[in-house]
């Protein structure tokens, strides 16, 4: 009976398109976390950086009247927050977890306070973001069609295509360039990188900055394109989800796409089910992605991989 209800075109179209819509913020953020985890910086402050990006991104798009200003503002906000991480954790070698928690808390608080002080109870919305269709592909039945409220799979905002290109770029960077090699060495064996004459601190600084910028972009996409509105605590733990995706992707950017898409589906599953008339509680829907992560961790606990020097500050000559 339920199988028959689910097996409709509308449902599957919305699963795929919804998964992409909810997965893109995760993808940006998890890609950032991949970069910094590989370089040995565990960024627990991702949630706060996403929120800052979401808030500033919304402001940029709202007052600048173009999504691009919003994305730029989001990137700037995320990067600015990660400067704190760079100075305190990478340069001064302070505890990455404590600083990360602090950034998350302060980010949650400040965005909520500023939003409340600025807009009060009125919550202005942004218009729909302009999209770009891939000619040909957007004619494919089921996959290419759109459901109310969602962009069809092959008709996405330009920033989504750029995001996929960015993942490819990072994968190439890791695999075939010196920069990627340096980043990997900074997480695997910083002593070796140092011995080769490359500054571990500088390498990690660039990685942490990139992470902040990407998390800010992810947050901005969330508020501009996905929700069209900023509400306090809008990320609902997605920053932490991104950390898990990066962990399970074992530092491989291409796996980040797959992981983000799957978790995007589990986030948007509740909407898809409601579309075909199956009503489950919001709480259960919200629980689903986290439950999925727990199950994934229990099943693949041995496979999750983190670099050995992760979360350890580098001190030259220390043992």
């Amino acid at each position: 009976m339920i199988v028959a209800t689910i097996w409709t075109q509308v449902f599957w179209t919305s699963v795929v398109a919804g998964g992409l819509l909810a997965g893109v913020p995760l993808m940006f953020t998890a890609l950032g976390e991949t970069i910094s985890e590989r370089a040995g910086v565990l960024n627990i402050g991702l949630e706060g950086m996403m929120l800052l990006g979401a808030y500033c991104g919304f402001l940029g798009a709202y007052y600048g009247h173009t999504q691009w200003l919003g994305y730029l503002a989001g990137i700037g906000a995320g990067a600015a927050a990660s400067v704190l991480m760079v100075v305190l954790c990478v340069w001064l070698g302070l505890d990455q977890i404590v600083v990360g928690i602090a950034i998350t808390l302060a980010g949650e608080g400040i965005t909520s306070v500023l939003h409340g002080a600025q807009f009060g109870a009125s919550e202005p919305r942004l218009g729909a973001t302009p999209t770009l269709a891939i000619p040909g592909l957007d004619r494919i039945p089921i996959l290419g069609e759109g459901v109310h409220g969602q962009n069809p799979l092959f008709r996405q905002p330009l920033v989504v295509y750029l995001g996929f290109a960015l993942v490819g770029l990072v994968a190439w960077l890791f695999r075939s360039t010196n920069v990627g090699l340096n980043l990997r060495a900074a997480g695997e064996k910083p002593e070796a990188l140092d011995a080769a004459g490359v500054s571990v601190v500088a390498t990690r600084s660039y990685a942490a900055l990139a992470t902040g910028a990407l998390a800010g972009l992810g947050g901005a996409y969330l508020s501009i394109a996905v929700a069209g509105v900023f509400t306090p605590f809008i990320t609902q733990g997605q920053g932490f989800m991104a950390i898990v995706i990066a962990m399970l992707a074992r530092g491989k950017p291409l796996w980040v796409i797959i992981g983000s898409f799957l978790f995007g589906i589990s986030i948007s599953m509740i909407d898809s089910l409601q579309l075909v008339g199956i009503d489950i509680s919001t709480d259960f829907g919200h629980m689903l992605p986290f439950l999925a992560i727990i199950v994934a961790l229990v099943l693949f606990a041995r496979r999750a991989y983190l670099p050995p020097a992760l979360a350890l500050p580098y001190v030259r000559g220390a043992r």
Binding site: G48, L84, L88, V90, W91, L92, G93, L94, D95, I97, V98, V99, I101, A102, I103, L105, A106, G107, E108, G109, I110, S112, V113, L114, H115, G116, A117, N178, N182, A196, G197, V198, S199, V200, V201, A202, T203, S205, P232, G237, F240, V244, M247, S281, D283, F284, H286, M287, F290, L291, I293, I294, L297, V298, A301, R302, A304, L306, Y314, R316
Partner: protein, 380 residues
């Protein structure tokens, strides 16, 4: 000569001790003061009066009889902080306190009304505390197992379990525990005379005394028993702990369970305090997030928690009203807490460098300022 020199050493040692104590006090207090100042600057930037905000905290958190309300608020905060102290000592991160707290609260609010109606009150209260502790502890089992067996990063697992736990608690409150007589998603309220009685002569919840006792017991266990020593060794160096023959999996799971149980018990104290008696869905507070900096400021010492948690209880109780008074979201407290954490790490760092007699800039800092990314090849 030697006899003359010996007594002269004494005052030196004493002044050193005093110096150390002063140093500790400064390092613990300065971050709080700096955060309050920075918060004041932020308030000013937002066009709010910092004086009226901090004045409001004094008025609503301490003045008249309000300090008694702060003292009651302190109970769950103190129990959570104690639970976190236990596990942080082992250098394990139980960041799933919200889920553990929420489940404990849901269980107490769900079974409380009927248990308290049918059993003698003291017995039912004890049973409810045990229920909540069991719920909190149960919610740490998966992260504890994964950590002990596979070394899976417990930060991630506890956080994920936390989100699931909060949602599960909300489902319970809206579903089986829902008060059938009203439409608001909340549990049946426990009769006021069945809630924790006040300490005679005051309006302070008497579970504050229980919390004090728990703090003392935990402090004793952490500092005076073999278990406490094992935790400390595990926290200092995991390889050393294994080398000493400590059974790590057992210790990891054990410390997780104790920590979860204390957080769960905090939830019982929260629900059974005279302010509440019920739980409303989507409104279970995340006290752990706010109390975490003070666990560090107290240097993972259970007794040292008392002044810090008392301070935050005042800030929390008064801040709630004070924020409304200056027309700001109460989430402003999160900003203050985040700032305290940041300043704490910085002060800690400066203190450590001063002890070592080093300069304030690290070698790496100077290097990073000099070397851009692309000039790296030549050396390789």
């Amino acid at each position: 000569m030697a006899e003359v020199a010996l007594p002269a050493r004494r005052p030196v040692a004493a002044s050193r001790l005093a110096g150390r104590a002063a140093d500790l006090a400064i390092r613990s207090l300065v971050p709080v003061v700096l955060a309050l100042v920075a918060g004041g600057v932020l308030l000013y930037a937002l066009g709010r009066s910092a004086l009226s905000f901090y004045g409001g905290i004094w008025t609503y958190g301490i003045a008249d009889q309000n300090w008694q309300q702060s003292a009651t608020t302190m109970v769950p905060l103190l129990l959570i902080a104690t639970g976190l102290t236990v596990i942080f000592r082992a250098n394990i991160w139980n960041l799933g306190y919200w889920g553990q707290f929420a489940l404990g609260a849901a269980v107490v609010a769900g079974y409380g009304p009927s248990l308290l109606a049918h059993l003698p009150m003291w017995f039912a209260t004890v049973v409810l505390f045990l229920f909540a502790a069991a719920a909190g502890a149960a919610w740490t089992i998966v992260p504890a197992f994964l950590k002990a067996r596979y070394g899976t990063n417990e930060i991630i697992t506890t956080l994920m379990m936390s989100f699931v736990g909060v949602d599960l608690a909300n489902i319970l409150v809206k579903g089986p525990f829902q008060d059938p007589s009203i439409r608001t998603p909340q549990t049946r309220a426990i009769d006021f005379d069945k809630l924790m009685p006040p300490i005679p002569g005051t309006s302070i919840d008497c579970s504050l005394l229980v919390a004090f006792a728990v703090v003392l017991v935990v402090h004793y266990v952490l500092t005076r028993t073999a278990f406490g020593l094992r935790l400390q060794i595990l926290g200092a160096n995991q390889r050393a702990a294994r080398h000493m023959g400590i059974r790590l999996p057992r210790l990891v799971v054990g410390s997780f369970l104790i920590s979860g149980a204390l957080v769960g018990a905090a939830a019982a104290a929260f629900v059974l305090s005279p302010f509440w008696g019920y739980v409303r869905a989507d409104q279970i507070p995340n006290y752990g997030d706010e109390i975490i900096p003070f666990v560090f400021l107290a240097r993972l010492n259970a007794v040292a928690l008392l002044p810090f948690v008392a301070f935050y209880a005042v800030l929390f109780t008064g801040g709630d009203f004070a924020a409304t008074q200056v027309n700001l979201s109460t989430d402003f407290l999160y900003v203050l807490v985040g700032l305290i954490l940041l300043f704490m790490t910085v002060i800690e760092f400066l203190g450590r460098r001063r002890e070592l007699g080093g300069s304030y800039l690290t070698v790496g800092l100077v290097q990073a300022l000099r070397a851009p990314l692309w000039r790296r090849r030549a050396a390789a």
